[in-house]
Symmetry: C2
Subunit: 309 residues, 2 copies
């Protein structure tokens, strides 16, 4: 079943303790689509770029099966640009530059050919834009997932609460969950947030993995223990993209299948952080991904039934 991703396609400039980049390709929808393409061979994207965005990169997305009919190219305007610097612990970062450019007045137009999409992933954008996308879908998708961030909780909490009522799955990190709920316990936070709308909640905990909550069920996925993280940019979007790509390709929204989707997303995110930007993701083959998934199986698998061998 078809997956539609709405989000930024943009430029990033990144500095980590290991080095820095010039302007490279980034944006939530870029990472989500690339990650989803490992499972979903045809997807749709709604996004906006300026005329400064390299055609080669758009061709690269096309070659991964991403339909760009919904990608608006604004003549005479510039693409969204973000620049940030990670601290030594890699868990915190300073934003150095944010140039909204084309995102400032982004009107997410959904092509008619996208209207049959069963799966919708709303990348981190203003809650109002996310809400507009949902309203413009004439057929309600089977699963609507969204990301957001503390910035929107600070400046657009009311809009965010409206949007949360329209979606099924919220994917945020632990600090965002604490801020949104006002609870320090993640279990209590999950209860509060699910009362705001989403029936499903994934809380990402970085090096400590992720938690999935639905009704009275909880699943705890580990993160792969890594010697070092080279660049965390895009890891959360890659996780979400892997998750939604897997769900859309299997067309199964059961809790058991969401567990698998979380492992897929975690495996792809573990690649993403190994190099700057999308560089590592572009090198991953299906065989490499399968080996990485098997590492997650070995990492978290146990059998309490004692067998005498």
């Amino acid at each position: 079943m078809s997956l539609l991703t709405v989000g930024s396609v943009a430029f990033d400039a990144i500095e980590t303790p290991f080095g820095k980049t010039d302007k490279i390709i980034g944006g939530a929808a870029t990472y989500i689509s690339l990650a989803a393409s490992f499972y979903k061979k045809n997807q749709n994207i709604v996004a906006v770029v300026g005329d400064d965005f390299p055609k080669a990169m758009l061709d690269a997305l096309s070659s991964k099966g991403v339909n760009l009919e919904g990608l608006q190219i604004k003549e005479g305007e510039k693409s969204f640009f973000w620049s940030g610097k990670y601290h030594n612990d890699m868990n915190t970062r300073d934003t150095l530059i944010t140039e909204l450019n084309v995102l400032e007045n982004f009107d997410p137009i959904i092509p008619e050919s996208y209207q049959d999409c069963s799966y919708l992933m709303l990348g981190n954008l203003s809650p109002q834009v996310q809400s507009t996308v949902v309203d413009r879908m004439t057929n309600r998708p089977k699963l609507i997932a969204m990301d957001t961030m503390n910035f929107w909780m600070d400046i657009a909490l009311d809009d965010l609460k409206v949007t949360l009522k329209k979606i099924d799955l919220l994917i945020i990190n632990d600090e965002e969950a604490r801020q949104l709920s006002g609870q320090s316990s993640l279990v209590k936070a999950a209860d509060v947030i699910r009362k705001m709308g989403p029936k499903y909640l994934i809380i990402k905990k970085g090096e400590h993995g992720a938690l999935l909550f639905h009704e009275d069920q909880v699943f705890a996925a580990p993160a792969l223990p890594l010697e070092e993280v080279f660049d965390p940019t895009g890891a959360g979007d890659t996780f979400a993209g892997g998750f939604m790509g897997y769900i859309a390709s299997t067309d199964d929204v059961s809790f058991e299948n969401m567990k698998r989707a979380i492992i897929v997303g975690s495996a792809l995110a573990s690649f993403c952080v190994e190099k700057f930007g999308t560089e590592r993701l572009a090198q991953v083959t299906p065989d490499l991904l399968d080996l990485r998934i098997q590492k997650f199986v070995a990492l978290s698998n146990f059998n309490m039934v004692y067998q005498i061998v």
Copy 2:
């Protein structure tokens, strides 16, 4: 096969955001033995108390199958006493009082009848005392596990390094692993620490679970997501006791069996934090423990093989 635990049997006075206690029974060996008793029906203990220690509590340990021949009762002296206050986040605490009393000159005498023990758990004590215990075992146990803490890294690092060379498994928390290794990445920390001696390393991460390292294998166990922690005192010792009790009762030191032992230890620790001190552990029945273990299975179990149902 027999399990020998060496550690403190003591008094604690605890204050948490939820309340405070008078002097209650505590000590590493107390928690370890109580937790291990769910699997190991006969165990040995080496410890020291003063004549102020209540006989009823010693009888309670005996009734759980703990052989007290190695418990020294010092006439005219007082038992070890620790008092602490937890901060609101429950992850940090201040020590208010530490009265070493009988622990100050503790000479760990191993009764002859303990010499055939195959499993040795060294609770948190001075590294010199831990080292002496190992030296006094005429038959080297099959598995020697130990706990320690940042205090000994601060004041007795050389002694600690000597002791680490004599043991098989070190069980410490993430901050202790970082301090001992000088590495912030836990994967790098695990490499450095295992070069110091122990072939096996368990790093406890509190609400984020635990990691087991051995050769090139890693296992990540989740912690049970809890609404709140009432009192964390003894949770680490309870984890270690459940782990070693399970290993000793199955007499199997394979990596697969250690995974099960970690789940058992985690399940028991999840009970421990529900009330002050040993109160909750004393109420746990085998059926309750089994249900809790099944919660861990549901929490972390997934099957990547997609089955069409």
